[in-house]
Amino acid sequence: MMVVYSLYGVAALVVLAPLAVALGASPRGTGAVYGASLIVTLTLCMIALLSLFEYSNRISSITLPLGLPWLGAHFRIDALSAFFLVVVNLGGAAASLFALGYGRHEHSPQRVLPFYPAYLAAMNLVVMADDAFSFLVSWEFMSLTSWALVIAHHQLRENLRAGYVYLLMASFGTLALLLSFGLLAGSDGSYAFDAIRASHPSAALAALVLILAVVGAGSKAGVVPLHAWLPLAHPAAPSHVSALMSGVMTKVAVYGFVRIVFDLLGPPDWWWSMVVLAVGGITAVMGVLYALMQHDLKRLLAYHTVENIGIIYIGLGLALAFKAHGMPLAAALALTAGLFHVFNHSIFKSLLFFGAGAVLNATGERDMEHLGGLIHRMPQTAFVFLVGCVAISALPPLNGFVSEWLTFQAILLSPQLPSWGLKFLVPAVGALLALSAALAAACFVKAFGVSFLGRARTPAAVAAKETDSNSLAAMYFLAALCLVAGIVPGFFIDALAPVTKSLVGVSMPHQAGVEWLSIVPIAESRSSYNGLLVFIFVLLAGSIAAFAIHRLASDKLRRGPAWDCGYPDPSSATQYTASSFAQPIRRVYGTSVFRAREIGEMPPPGATTPARLTVELRDLIWDAAYAPVATAIEYATEKLNYLQFLTIRQYLSLVFAALVILLLVLAIWQ
C-alpha cells in the first residue's frame, strides 16, 4: 500500500512540473510551486517513515503497465528504499521550504520551477524502482532534470561548461550501470530485480558487475577520480538545488550502489571490499584536500561532498568485507555507520548549502575572499551555518561525529578479518579517514572563519542583510536535526535496523533501551558513546563556569580597538584570506598532490610596482584522466574530419575498398 501512496505523491510532483511552466511567470506562482513541493515531499517523508517503522517487515510493491511493455514498471518499498526515501524527501522538504524564501530572488524562475518538482520525483522513483529499466530511466531522468537546473543560469559560460561535463559524466555512469544490469539480467532480459536476485551470477560476472557498479554509481556519487563534474555542477545550480544535488542526489547514487552490490549481486567476494575501501579512502582525503584549496564557498562545499562520499564508501566497504567473511554483526555495524552518515551528510550538507545560498543572496558573492564579518549582519545564518560546520567536521556532540565514530568502531573490528589484503588496507584506510576528518575541521574553520568572522572585505559584504524567515526556518530545522541526531543517535541507529537486517541478515543491538540513551555498538566494555550526556556536560560545565565567573569574579566588559600585538591595521585587506589560511596545509600536502607552487615576484629596489605572490595549483586528476580524453577526442575528430572534405572520387574509392575487402573476406572465409 505504501508504495501506492508514494507513487501518488510522485505523480503529484510530476503533474506539478508542467504546471510550473505556467506558474513560474508570477512570484506568487513560485511560492505555489515550492509550497506544493513542500507539502508533497513532507507527505512522502511521512509515508517513508511509516514504512520504515511501522511496516518494516512488510514489503510493499506494485507493477504498473508502464516502461518495458512485457515487464511493466515495478516499484517496491522495502526497508532500504524507505530509508532512502526519508533522506530524499527530508532533503526535498527542507529545500522546498528554503526555496519559499530563496526562490523569490530567482531572476529566471521559468528555468528552475518546472524542473524542480520533476527532479524530486525522479529521485523518489530511483529509490522505489524495482526493475532495471525503471531504475535507469529514473536515474537518468534525475541527471537530466538536474542538468537543466545546473544550466538554469545559462548566460554564464562556466555554468554551461559545468552542465556539459556533468551530463557527460552522468551518461557515462548511466551507461556503466546499464552494462552492469545487462550482465545481471542476461541476454534474455530478465530485468526485474526479483529475477536478478534469484539468478546467481558466476564469480567473473559478478566481479565485472561490481566494477561497473563502482564506476556507474560512483560517477554519480562523485567518487575520485570520477568526481570532476561535481564541484563544477553543484555550485552552478541555484542554492536549494545545490543542496539537493549534494545532499540528496549523491545519496541516491549511494543507494544505487548499495542496491546492486548488497542486494542484487548475491554474496560478496572478499576482494570487493578492497576496491570499495580503497576508493573510499582515496576519495575522502582527496575530496577534502581539494576543498581546502578552494575559495569559492559553494565549490568548497561541493568538494566536501566528495569527501563525505568517501567516508560513506569506507563504511560500505567495511560492511562488504565483514559480510564476505561471515561476520554479520560487524557488517551490520559498518553498514549502519555508512548509512547513518548518508543521513547525516544529507542533513548538514543541505544546511550548509542553504547557508551559502543565503550568503549568495545577501551579498551576491560566492567567493570567500570577498566576504567576511557576516556574523554581525547575518547572525542567525551565521549560527546555523556554524552548526553545520561543526557537524560536518565530525565534532561532538553533533551528528557527523557519531557516524564517523561508528565507522571507527567498525574499523577496530577488522583485525578479525582473515584476508591479508584487508589487514593492510583497513588500518591505512583508518588513517586516511582520520586524516580527512582532521582536514575537514581545518577546512571549515577556514570556510566559517573567512566568510562569517573577521571584518568585511567588500562593500557587498558590508551591505549584507539577514535572510528571510522561510530560509531561516529551513536552516534551523536542519540544524536542530543535526543536534538531535547527534545527541540521541540510538533512535536513528534503531531506525536503520530493518535496513541492515535485510542486507546483511542481522542488525545492530537495539539501542533505544540502553540506559541514559547511550549507543553501544557491540558491548559496553568495548565502546560506548553518549552524545546526550556529553552535550549536557559541556552545556553544564560552560554554564557553571560562566555563572561562577560572572557572579564571583568580574563581568565587566569594555570595547576597544583590536590589540593585534600593537600593529592593528584598519584595512580589512590585512586579514588572513582563505588562501593564506590554507597556505600551511597547502605547503604540507599540496606540493605533492597539486604540484602547488608559490611564485613570488619582488620588484627591483626603487620600482613602484607591487610585489606579487601567485599560487599555482594543478589538478593532477584532471590532467591525468580527463584532459587526455578530451585531447584524444579532439585529435580523432580533427583527423576524421578530413573525411568530410574528400572528393567524390575518393568517396567512391572508400566504397570500392569496402567492396574489395568484403569480397576478400568472403574469399578467405570460405
Binding site: 529499466f133 554551461l160 541476454s187 572508400l654 566504397v655
Partner: protein
C-alpha cells in the same frame, strides 16, 4: 487485382503526383499535398484492420506493416511542416514558385516509390522502387540550384547510382541462387516464395549476393564508409526533404537489407549476416559520433547523427535475437520520429536565423522559447536520454547484447557517449548562452514537431500492447 488498401497506398500518391504536377498555386497544392499524404496514411492504417491478400507483386506482412505505417505517418506530418516551411521559402524568394509545383509532384512520387519499395513482393520491383526514390530525392536535393546544392545532389547521385548498381548485382545473384531450386521465371524473385526455399539455396552465391546487397543498400542506409552523400544531401536540400531522408528513406533501404538478412539467416550454411552488419554498424556509430564535433552546419550535424543511429540500428539487427531485434525496430521508429521532429525544428530555426551556421545561432531558448526548447527536447531524445523512447531502445540493445559480445557493446556504448558529447556541445551554443543572430519570432507550425516528440515521449513511458505484439512478431520473424 482489385483496388484494396495495398493498391491504395500506391495509387493515391501516384494520382496526387500527376495532379500536383498540373496544378499551379502554392496554397492549394500544399494543402492538396497534405491531404494526399493524409489519405495515404489513413489507407496504411487500414492495413491493420483488413489485411489484404498478398499477390506475387505486392505483399503485406507484419514486417512491412510497421514500416509502411511509419512511413506514411511521417510523410503526412512532414507535409504539414513542409506547407509552412515552403511558404516561408517562397516569401523570402529562395524558392521560385515554378519549382514548387515540381517539388510537390516529386514529393508524391517519392511517397509512391517508398511505399512501393515497402510492399513489393518482388526483389526486382523493390530494387526499382528504391532506385526511383533515389532519383527523386536527387532532384529534390538539387532544387535550390545553389553551388552547394548541386554539388550535394551530384555526389548523392553518383554514390547512389553505384550503390544501386551493386544492389542490382546482388539481386541478380539472389535470383541465380534461387533458380536451381525454384525454377526459372517470376517465382524465383518473389519474396514469399524465396523465403520458403531459402534453406536449399547455394550458400556461396547467397554470400556474395549479401555482400553486394549490404554495400548497395547500405549506401542508402548511410553506413560508413558508404555514407558520404548523406550529410551533404541533408544539409543542402530543403529541410522537409532532410526530414524525409533521415526519417524514411534510410528506413526503406534498411528494410530491404533486413529482408535479405532474413533470407540469409534461413540458410544454415551461408555466412552469418550478423557479423558483417554488426561491423558496419559499429563503424558507422563510432565514426559518425566523432564527426559530430566539428560540424558548423546544423543540418549536417544532425545528418551525422542519423548515420550514428543507423549504425546502432544495424548493430541491433546484426546481433539478432528477439530482444535486440525488438530494440532495433523500436529504435528505428523512434529515430524516424525524433529525427524528423528535429529537422522540423531546425528548418524553422534556420529560417529565423537566416543561416544554417551554428556559430551564428545562440540563446535560442531565450529568443524563441518554443523552438528552442523543442530542439532541446529533440536532442535530449536523440541523445538517448530518458524518459524518451530512444532510451528504451538503447537500453534494450545494450543490455540484451552485452552478455553476448561485451567488447563490441563497449565500443557501441563508447560511440553513444561520444555522440552525446558532440550533440550537447553544439546544443549549448545553439539553445543557451547569449542570444546571437536575428531574433524575430518564427512563423512556424509547431504541431508536427510536438506531435512527434509527444509520441516519442509516450513510447518511452508507455507502449500500447498492440504495438508491442506487432513488434515482437516482427522481431521473431527477423530471427
Amino acid at each position: 487485382m482489385s483496388i484494396d488498401a495495398l493498391a491504395g497506398v500506391l495509387l493515391i500518391p501516384a494520382f496526387a503526383a500527376a495532379l500536383l504536377a498540373a496544378l499551379p498555386g502554392y496554397r492549394l497544392t500544399s494543402r492538396l499535398n497534405v491531404l494526399a499524404t493524409f489519405l495515404t496514411f489513413a489507407t496504411a492504417v487500414s492495413l491493420f484492420v483488413v489485411e489484404p491478400k498478398s499477390g506475387s507483386y505486392l505483399l503485406v506482412d507484419d514486417l512491412n506493416k510497421v514500416f509502411i505505417v511509419l512511413t506514411t505517418f511521417v510523410s503526412f506530418t512532414t507535409s504539414v511542416f513542409s506547407a509552412s516551411y515552403i511558404g516561408h521559402e517562397i516569401e523570402i524568394g529562395r524558392l521560385k514558385p515554378t519549382y514548387v509545383r515540381f517539388y510537390h509532384a516529386m514529393y508524391q512520387v517519392l511517397m509512391f516509390a517508398m511505399n512501393l519499395a515497402l510492399i513489393a513482393n518482388n526483389i526486382g520491383l523493390m530494387w526499382v522502387a528504391i532506385e526511383m526514390a533515389t532519383l527523386t530525392t536527387v532532384l529534390m536535393v538539387g532544387i535550390y540550384r545553389t553551388h552547394e546544392a548541386l554539388e550535394a545532389a551530384w555526389k548523392y547521385f553518383i554514390l547512389g547510382s553505384v550503390g544501386i548498381a551493386l544492389a542490382l548485382f546482388g539481386t541478380i545473384l539472389i535470383y541465380m541462387a534461387a533458380r536451381p531450386v525454384i525454377g526459372e521465371g517470376l517465382d524465383a524473385m518473389v519474396w514469399s516464395v524465396l523465403v520458403t526455399h531459402a534453406a536449399k539455396f547455394d550458400p556461396a552465391l547467397l554470400n556474395v549476393a549479401f555482400v553486394f546487397l549490404l554495400l548497395g543498400y547500405g549506401t542508402k542506409v548511410g553506413l560508413a564508409p558508404l555514407h558520404a552523400w548523406l550529410p551533404d544531401a541533408h544539409a543542402e536540400g530543403p529541410t522537409p526533404i532532410s526530414a524525409v531522408l533521415s526519417g524514411l528513406l534510410l528506413n526503406v533501404a534498411l528494410y530491404a537489407l533486413l529482408r535479405f538478412k532474413m533470407l540469409l539467416a534461413l540458410n544454415p550454411v551461408a555466412i552469418a549476416p550478423g557479423p558483417l552488419m554488426v561491423t558496419m554498424g559499429l563503424i558507422s556509430c563510432v565514426f559518425a559520433a566523432f564527426m559530430l564535433y566539428r560540424r558548423r552546419d546544423i543540418k549536417r550535424m544532425f545528418a551525422y547523427s542519423s548515420i550514428e543511429h543507423m549504425g546502432i540500428i544495424v548493430f541491433a539487427f546484426g546481433m539478432g535475437g528477439p530482444l535486440a531485434n525488438f530494440a532495433g525496430l523500436l529504435h528505428m521508429t523512434m529515430h524516424s520520429l525524433t529525427k524528423s521532429a528535429i529537422f522540423f525544428a531546425v528548418g524553422h530555426i534556420a529560417q529565423v536565423k537566416g543561416t544554417q551556421k551554428i556559430a551564428d545561432m545562440g540563446g535560442l531558448t531565450v529568443t524563441n522559447p518554443v523552438l528552442g526548447w523543442g530542439l532541446v527536447l529533440g536532442v535530449v531524445a536523440i541523445a538517448g536520454l530518458p524518459p524518451l523512447g530512444i532510451f528504451m531502445s538503447e537500453f534494450l540493445v545494450v543490455s540484451s547484447t552485452f552478455a553476448r559480445q561485451p567488447v563490441l557493446v563497449i565500443i557501441l556504448v563508447f560511440g553513444i557517449l561520444v555522440a552525446l558529447g558532440g550533440l550537447f556541445l553544439r546544443l549549448n551554443t545553439i539553445a543557451f548562452g547569449e542570444p546571437r543572430g536575428p531574433t524575430a519570432p518564427a512563423q512556424a507550425s509547431y504541431v508536427p514537431m510536438f506531435a512527434h516528440l509527444a509520441i516519442v515521449f509516450m513510447a518511452g513511458i508507455y507502449m500500447p500492447p498492440a504495438l508491442v505484439t506487432g513488434f515482437q512478431n516482427v522481431a521473431k520473424l527477423l530471427g
